[in-house]
């Protein structure tokens, strides 16, 4: 589904954010990307739907080359859901309109159909009663669930999560993770940048560990939590798992 081949990316002339990264996410697979801050995990996931351009290598999404100048990027992006660390709901639109905007403007759905889809998804994330509210009237956890519903409204073939719980108060993390666990169990293809090792342990098929722009470890979940092969991954795990 997602193939990342020898991807290189620079910010400016001197800083290399991604160094020869190669990995893949198969259909229905859940892959967790972790690593210390500044290791390039967010950059990597943003390259998948070309929010960030790459300078070397290839990214292929459902058979379509993302970094081909001829690719219709808006169309390709509309088929991949993305959830951001800071939710990024559109503050001037009611929750229901946040879910309908791209359905109508990008997919060309009729307003009534878009509303039906939106309400079904809001119901699914437990926020049907909040449809008429504005984003600023919801808690962080609720906003992030809306953001997930907004991405799902486009019927995506895969979902990208960029630290979806990092900006949340501790008591709100689980309500967002619950939604994500459900999604994973239903067979959604997911690439998740997160520090939530509990989530990784529960639903991930594979775990990728990044450090300084490199993919240091790319292993099945059991192998990763059992005996990571690299020193750096071991150190990282011991630091975040000791609490």
């Amino acid at each position: 589904m997602i193939e990342i081949n020898h991807v290189n990316k620079w910010y400016g002339p001197s800083f290399q954010a991604l160094k020869d990264c190669t990995t893949s996410v198969a259909k229905g697979e859940v892959v967790v990307v972790c690593g210390p801050s500044g290791s390039g995990k967010s950059t990597l996931i943003k390259c998948v739907n070309a929010l960030e351009p790459i300078q070397g290598g290839d990214i292929i999404l459902d058979g379509i080359k993302v970094n081909d100048p001829k690719t219709d990027l808006p169309k390709l992006r509309s088929r991949v859901g993305m959830v951001f660390q800071h939710f990024e709901l559109f503050p001037h639109l009611r929750i229901i309109d946040n879910l309908c905007l791209a359905q109508e403007k990008v997919l060309g759905r009729k307003h009534d159909d878009a509303v039906v889809t939106a309400m079904k998804l809001l119901d699914r994330v437990g926020l049907k009663d909040h449809a008429k509210k504005f984003p600023a009237e919801l808690s962080g956890g609720q906003q992030q669930r809306v953001a997930i519903a907004r991405a799902l409204a486009m019927n995506p073939i895969a979902m990208l999560f960029d630290e979806p719980t990092s900006a949340l108060d501790p008591e709100m993390i689980s309500e967002v993770l619950d939604v994500m666990v459900d999604l994973a169990r239903e067979g959604m293809t997911m690439m998740v940048v997160t520090h939530e090792m509990g989530f990784a342990n529960k639903v991930a098929d594979r775990v990728i560990f990044m450090d300084r722009g490199e993919i240091v470890e790319d292993a099945k979940k059991a192998d990763f939590f059992g005996t990571p092969r690299s020193d750096r991954a071991q150190k990282f795990l011991s630091k975040i798992l000791q609490h």
């Binding site: 943003k46 739907n49 929010l51 808006p74 169309k75 390709l76 992006r77 509309s78 088929r79 991949v80 993305m82 951001f84 660390q85 800071h86 990024e88 709901l89 559109f90 503050p91 001037h92 905007l101 791209a102 403007k105 990008v106 997919l107 509210k133 504005f134 984003p135 600023a136 009237e137 953001a147 907004r150 991405a151 486009m154 990208l160």
Partner: protein
């Protein structure tokens, strides 16, 4: 000070035979309103285009925006009006220059366009700041949903940016009205112009300019009130200025 105060002068007939002196001033007020509203529309439309250009990643776009803004804000308004009114018709091909000179009501159109373009530079800079103040994730989120750049600006960035810059835009609208008085120098008989001719006909200089002052104050008070109402109307519940 030997001055004959005469507050009844406003009800006396003016020598032009167009009614009283008050009618004269009110006719000037109407011209001021017309030229200011037209200039403000020009400023808003072109300022929006230029402000957006300045926020695009394209070098050419931001270069065009840069040149526009620096050209129109670095020259005194008075000089700009002279340029449009006296110099431009001479520089153009003969037929176009002649057309400009013979334009009925040429001072009015020149003033509207001249003040409008002068103000557009200020609108552009403020809009650029408004767009720049939005979280970067907003653009990424709408791009990730598959919206094109035009759609992203139309449905996501501009509605928020304009809400943020509404208070300073109010000041710019007031500045447009006040700057329209400069048009007296190219022969537009607007409110200040009528106050001057009233003074010349009647020698009641203090009454004439007191009345002009009051009319400007009233006009700007109407604008301020209308903009306050607009601010309240578009306020977003739970968000910064919203309640």
């Amino acid at each position: 000070m030997n001055y004959n105060w005469n507050w009844h002068i406003f009800l006396e007939p003016n020598p032009m035979g167009t009614g009283t002196y008050l009618d004269m001033l009110l006719a000037g007020l109407v011209v001021t309103i017309k030229v200011s509203v037209l200039a403000w529309i020009i400023a808003l439309v072109s300022g929006t285009v230029i402000g957006v250009l300045r926020t695009l990643p394209s070098r050419t776009a931001s270069w065009i925006g840069f040149c526009w803004v620096e050209f129109f804000r670095n020259m005194p308004l008075l000089v700009q009006l002279f340029l449009w009114f006296f110099v431009l018709p001479e520089l153009l091909p003969k037929s176009a220059g002649l057309w400009m000179k013979q334009l009925p009501n040429a001072p009015f159109w020149t003033a509207a366009v001249g003040v409008g373009l002068f103000m557009s530079a200020r609108v552009a800079v403020q809009l650029q700041a408004g767009i720049g103040s939005l979280p970067r994730g907003q653009k990424q989120a709408s791009t990730a949903l598959g919206l094109t750049t035009v759609q992203t600006y139309r449905y996501v960035l501009l509605p928020m940016a304009f809400r943020i810059i509404l208070p300073p835009l109010t000041s710019e609208f007031l500045n447009t009205i006040k700057n329209s008085a400069v048009a007296i120098t190219i022969g537009l008989i607007e409110l200040t112009g009528q106050a001057r001719s009233m003074q010349e006909f009647s020698f009641q200089v203090f009454e004439a300019f007191t009345a002009a002052t009051v009319l400007y104050l009233l006009l700007n008070f109407v604008v301020v009130t209308a903009m306050r109402l607009l601010e309240r109307y578009v306020a977003i519940p739970g968000y910064i200025t919203g309640k």
